[in-house]
Symmetry: C2
Subunit: 250 residues, 2 copies
Amino acid sequence: MPASAPPAVAPALSAEARDIIYRNILARRDVRSQFVTTPVDEAVLARILTAAHFAPSVGFMQPWSFVLVRDPAVKQRVHDAFNTANAEAAQMFDGDQREIYKTLRLEGILEAPVNLCITCDRDRAGPVVLGRTHLKAMDLYSTVCAVQNLWLAARSEGLGVGWVSIFRQSAIREILQLPERIMPVAYLCIGHVSHFPDRPELESAGWRARLELKDLLHFDHWGGEEGESAGLTAAVQDAQAQAARGALPT
Amino acid sequence: MPASAPPAVAPALSAEARDIIYRNILARRDVRSQFVTTPVDEAVLARILTAAHFAPSVGFMQPWSFVLVRDPAVKQRVHDAFNTANAEAAQMFDGDQREIYKTLRLEGILEAPVNLCITCDRDRAGPVVLGRTHLKAMDLYSTVCAVQNLWLAARSEGLGVGWVSIFRQSAIREILQLPERIMPVAYLCIGHVSHFPDRPELESAGWRARLELKDLLHFDHWGGEEGESAGLTAAVQDAQAQAARGALPT
């Protein structure tokens, strides 16, 4: 008998294609201030929604729905709900932080031509869902995977996306008339932008620094060290330094 | 005074680059059965971890950590925890569904050369976090964005990723020695694969069908219809038909 052939292995994309994937991930931003009035083409919106719909989901549950908000009156009510919650939020910070907080722009609800609430239907696939038997939040996590797919697709289309989370959930539920079983997961402002900032705005504003990825690695258990070879820690340091310049050499 | 110039607008990527982005999103799979023994290069692992680290996070909190599991003894304990939970899970389904459930392969813990638990540190940025004042789960959602970034980067590297969620959370906490404030969010099996199936395995197995995206759209409020123009609904039907063939024409 001949020795068995080595198993077939699925190839990586070309170096050029991987470069495009990584640059897009690194160039994605949470946009609040740069929206312009250019309308969003329906075909483009259809593509980014489709990217969301092809996200992974627990038990193939596909628990997401998409509430598109373009009516100025609805946007205004959402904006009012943001203002109420944001005033409450500012009071939770002390001293200098409160002053900085008040100067930050945290939403683009009225300027962005499209607002989109991505929701999670907790009953989409009946009472027992494959893969969700031991962690009920898996449907919410699946919905967030759809958000991130949409966000990355939007970046490739030159569309900015901003995730606004400073709302009382009950206000969003009421404005969008969500049934009880429907959880609002992400309220997104979407539109063309003048530019994408080089770095996250909270990093540029000095609110918080980018952490060192190497400090977030654990091996085999929490607190476990890499041991002799230490190859990954060094590789991660290199990769993060490259990523800070916008690309990851493949 | 001359009329003001139209605002600058950030461009989309080229059609070729967007094609790469969309094909990668559509070709991503939740892998359980196709792992091969080819080792995962440290530089590749560093790149996909860096992609995760450049995910969006609420208040730039970066709440994630990465517990890499390569020790066979630790993997075996995780696999045992899966078996215990999976036996419980099977009992929750009735009749035919239970029989089908038992035939499904739902993890690749021992075969995948790398296991990775992505966790969320709920105290990473102190008691009050910008953007998390009204929705405490935002840190968990940020962590899932990191999972999806990693998953898409891995696909471009030819690496399969499988998310295993059938565990008692207490078992994972104990095996990986996670402190109380650290939530395990995703337990991922990662490795090279023989191939990526064309469709999700649960779809091929007839467990559940792909939903029609057009049925998941709502306009301005839950149940709201598109109205006269109906341009997006039609565009979404076109896009989903194209996506089923693996690409979205840009």
